[in-house]
């Protein structure tokens, strides 16, 4: 632990940004590959 730091809020921001990006890109892929409805 680093004394005086507010314990990794920077790391949490990085992880949240990356997680949101992964979620958005995955949903884009799912939308792209969605099978066409029959009829």
């Amino acid at each position: 632990m680093v004394r005086g730091s507010s314990m990794g809020e920077g790391g949490i921001i990085v992880l949240v940004v990356v997680a949101v990006a992964v979620a958005v890109f995955l949903s884009m892929l799912i939308w792209l590959m969605q099978p066409e409805k029959k009829g």
């Binding site: 920077g10 921001i13 939308w31 792209l32 590959m33």
Partner: protein, 451 residues
């Protein structure tokens, strides 16, 4: 309707995936030997610590950080050439968008990785996540570069999907590659709706990536600019870094496309007109770079602040002057002399200039980073000479970048085949219609006649 996006004339683009000559194996062997030397050098650094490098107090950043800025800059090429030209519907982009995107995707890991190389204890990289504070510009960098890397890989992959599906359906390759293609194609069937959606996603990603390029390189520059170190503390450093990044990136794309053109016989796809357009773009960037460099240094000179002038003099007339003037020759004199003359603005000329531009831009990163630390504000003079360990690791990074690129060209088509197909089918009538829509007096008779 269903089509797999391949015209018969594009079959040649799949040849490198099927046939492999001796040159490929020799290239890979040489690159692996260079990488092995780099790995050995890195292991020494890991065991004995940063003492094996030339870094010292106050020069605690050397060529690893130079490589960091350089590779991140190089990575902007793909986005610029592919995304921006896509947004403005420049049709001539099509044969080399993939080559450009590959430069982005394969150079980014070495940009981000250079930070880890610069740490005597690489495990401390985790501290940015565990204890990182967002007040620090380094955390902005970690955030932006992570996002940029993810976005670039996704954009690159999106544009690859239709071609991977063609490889899956048409190529008779070993079971590993067949499984790889099947997995990566994600069940792509090539329906009209899929192509329509792919186009929409590519448009969205092109805009997003263009924004990210500006943000990422500005934030990279802020690692320096947000300190009060003489020579770094300037509002101007963000745009200066960005222009330089695009400059070196375009040079890298020219080198990559010309090599691919020659090795894989892509003369039908990458024509002199393409290289000429890129050369003129490179020339414009050279002029822009000179203007920005002049403004930056003239402002410092005119201000005449002692701390800033110490750095200025170190670059202009003292120990860093050979690097500084070599940079000016590589980034301005050579491009203007060769590309400014239509007779020398040939494919060979473009490659020669691009190589010099990249050497010059690497020197520029050195010139920005190192002299400022050699003349600290509190006084004294520092000196720095990179050791063989740093050179070996640096050369290994470049070799690894080339190796990834070479392996990529053996697994996937280096020209976006579906984009070429799309261009033949749709782009010509669309371009005619577009010109007609804004050209006063254009009538149906002014359109080209169908044969």
């Amino acid at each position: 309707m269903k089509h797999d996006g391949v015209a018969q004339e594009d079959a040649a683009l799949f040849e490198p995936l099927i046939r492999t000559g001796r040159g490929f194996y020799i290239t890979v062997a040489v690159l692996l030997a260079i990488i092995a030397l780099g790995v050995y050098a890195y292991l020494r650094q890991l065991i004995y610590g940063l003492g094996v490098t030339g870094m010292n107090r106050p020069l605690f950043w050397g060529i690893y950080i130079t490589n960091f800025v350089f590779f991140i800059g190089l990575s902007h090429a793909g986005t610029l050439v592919s995304a921006i030209l896509r947004i403005v519907k420049a049709e001539w982009r099509r044969p080399f968008t993939r080559a450009a995107e590959a430069v982005t995707v394969f150079s980014l890991p070495f940009g981000a990785g250079s930070i880890i190389l610069d740490l005597g204890r690489p495990d401390r990289m985790l501290n940015t996540i565990l204890y990182g504070r967002f007040q620090s510009a380094i955390m902005w960098d970690v955030t932006c570069i992570s996002l940029y890397m993810l976005s670039s890989i996704f954009y690159f992959y999106l544009a690859l999907i239709p071609d991977i599906a063609v490889c899956r359906d048409r190529l008779d390759v070993g079971s590993f590659r067949a499984r790889l293609y099947r997995f990566l194609a994600l069940g792509w069937t090539g329906t009209e709706r899929q192509y329509h959606r792919l186009d929409r996603l590519m448009d969205i990603m092109a805009v997003w990536l263009t924004m990210l390029v500006v943000i990422v390189h500005t934030v990279v520059a802020w690692i320096f600019g947000m300190t009060i170190v003489p020579g770094w503390h300037s509002a101007f450093i963000g745009p200066y870094f960005l222009a330089g990044a695009i400059f070196s990136g375009v040079g890298a794309v020219i080198i990559a496309t010309v090599i691919l053109r020659r090795v894989y016989h892509l003369e039908e796809y990458i024509k002199p007109v393409h290289i000429n357009a890129m050369s003129l773009f490179l020339l414009s960037l050279s002029l822009l770079w000179f203007y920005l460099t002049f403004v930056e240094y003239f402002t410092t000179f005119y201000g005449n602040e002692p701390a800033h002038m110490a750095v200025f003099n170190a670059k202009f007339s003292q120990e860093f002057s050979p690097l500084f003037w070599a940079m000016v020759v590589c980034c301005f004199v050579i491009p203007v002399v060769i590309l400014g003359n239509p007779r020398t603005r040939t494919i060979t000329g473009a490659v020669v200039v691009s190589i010099f531009v990249n050497i010059g831009m690497w020197l520029e990163r050195c010139i920005v980073i190192i002299p400022s630390m050699a003349r600290p504000r509190m006084g004294g003079i520092g000196s720095y000479t990179p050791t063989w360990v740093e050179w070996a690791i640096t050369i290994a990074c470049f070799a690894s970048f080339i190796l990834l690129y070479v392996l990529f060209t053996k697994l996937f088509p280096v020209v976006a085949v579906w984009e070429m197909h799309e261009a033949r089918q749709r782009s010509i009538p669309e371009a005619v219609e577009r010109v007609r829509s804004y050209m006063p007096g254009a009538t149906a008779s002014s359109l080209p006649r169908e044969e």
